[in-house]
Symmetry: D3
Subunit: 126 residues, 6 copies
Amino acid sequence: MDERFKIGWDRLKELDDKQGDRLIEGLKDIAPSMVNYIIEFAMGDIYTREGLSLKERELLTIASLTTLGDTAPQIKVHVRCALNIGLTPKEVTECVIHCLPYAGFPRTLNALSAVEEVFKEREIIK
Amino acid sequence: MDERFKIGWDRLKELDDKQGDRLIEGLKDIAPSMVNYIIEFAMGDIYTREGLSLKERELLTIASLTTLGDTAPQIKVHVRCALNIGLTPKEVTECVIHCLPYAGFPRTLNALSAVEEVFKEREIIK
Amino acid sequence: MDERFKIGWDRLKELDDKQGDRLIEGLKDIAPSMVNYIIEFAMGDIYTREGLSLKERELLTIASLTTLGDTAPQIKVHVRCALNIGLTPKEVTECVIHCLPYAGFPRTLNALSAVEEVFKEREIIK
Amino acid sequence: MDERFKIGWDRLKELDDKQGDRLIEGLKDIAPSMVNYIIEFAMGDIYTREGLSLKERELLTIASLTTLGDTAPQIKVHVRCALNIGLTPKEVTECVIHCLPYAGFPRTLNALSAVEEVFKEREIIK
Amino acid sequence: MDERFKIGWDRLKELDDKQGDRLIEGLKDIAPSMVNYIIEFAMGDIYTREGLSLKERELLTIASLTTLGDTAPQIKVHVRCALNIGLTPKEVTECVIHCLPYAGFPRTLNALSAVEEVFKEREIIK
Amino acid sequence: MDERFKIGWDRLKELDDKQGDRLIEGLKDIAPSMVNYIIEFAMGDIYTREGLSLKERELLTIASLTTLGDTAPQIKVHVRCALNIGLTPKEVTECVIHCLPYAGFPRTLNALSAVEEVFKEREIIK
């Protein structure tokens, strides 16, 4: 296994124990090299940079995804990661709500719907 | 002075001592009520919520603006705020670079150009 | 009840008698303060401004949502409001089609799909 | 002259007497067929549809451009058109401010800056 | 039948034998004139321009749709067209992956999901 | 020099002999690691993939940048690359105009303005 891949894989395992396998399974038929880019580049190169904590990085990811729009699947993945590393449900919803003045109501409400699905899955809300 | 306005004004003063006056001056001819919405809603309602620190909120703002695009003037305002409240130049650039996998190279590079202007203004880089 | 909330609530009732209760129900578990921001800020502060009629404001909302993209749930809410206050189905579809040169075909076609769902629900088309 | 071109040209002349010549001049070296698409399609096909008034169409255009972002040159053209056909400065700024809850502060503030330039050019504000 | 409509209709038939009828059926109740704009403008005016091959145009369309976001239905239509005119599955996925540095991971992954649906429908992957 | 960096650097040199040095110079103070990501990831990993020609990749880049918006500096870089590798001015403008139905007039016109600047710089148009 390539060094960058290993660094990224370990980082992703820290965020979500199963997400690496899910990525490989989900992309193996259509675009297996996307797995490498996610693991090596997004996880290995970016998510392991110094200067911000892992929790801060997850919050920034959720803010970026909220603002981008059309990102419900990605928000759900990263809300699971956020909860896994000890961010509280309150910190996750605060992060989304904080984007409201910049991203507007539709983006914020759509992101909250995706967050809600994960919170139900985790039985944080019923 | 209205209570929400006062709460927002104080929060903005904490972020940047002069920004409130600049807003009033900049918007007085074209849309003075926008000042109220920025101070009362963005600053008073959102930026004073609990659950995230002020530093975390500034980082989330910069991530949201980086992702949104066409936001150079707003990024410059918030990078000044970020530095004013003690975020390091390193934390600011890390925040922008962290958005790269989600927002792509053009948005990230444009945001870094806006950050660079403020860093030069503050003589952080020459 | 707070004055701004009351003003916004009345405005929303004018647009859709049931939408306020739906908002409270839909957001009560995940982010109840979003209800306040929608009622007080979007409805109370913005939708009650002078200078444009309520019908014109609904059309502008639909144009903004069409252009933004990833807004099917919000378009459906506002098309219901538009019809409730007497805008004709023709005015609603014209509004979406007018955005075509600026927002492009995908945004316009997606918005028309959302409009169509409401028109079927209201038995305007079968 | 082709029929669709003539219809679009007349419509554009109604909005701004000089804009057609400016378009031809501005695009003649790089992409002259874009003039045809603007005149025939945007002006001839879309802007002459029935069901909404010309004033309503200008307001919808400004709302769409505000929301889209990176549209300062286009907003300036259409604010001139809006004023030419009798929309008041107040209606123009109201239209932009109405987009705030959907498009967010950065898009709205950038649009207001473009509006302000035209208002100064027309000596509506000093 | 109008000349521009015929030119566009023939071009669309070349891309997908059934898509014209599907468009008419899908839009007949909500916005029949959109059919004309798609056939006459997008197909007749743009897709028949000289200077790029039809295959190149389909790849550019898929890159544009990938970057725009909230375009799953449109990507599916154009991936079918791409395969119909002889682009290989490999060329289609390469085209989407090429947008990754500019459009970011969420847009690219969402586009690949839409591509995958068509590849399954065509039994290119199981 | 790292292998991925070398591969990316060679690819970039093929596209534009001077662009690598310009990148290093432009980013050295604010975010030197962005140079690595551009060279290693965008150029080394993505731009050297098989299945599409280098000319096709440049056209796809320009289509993606046109659609994204707020990308004038990036469009100018890639139009220079496109011309350097033998794409004709006609192919470049066709590529931008092809995005019109998906990205809309403002994005297309803004991209053409950026293209025009490079064409003047290269004395393709006066």
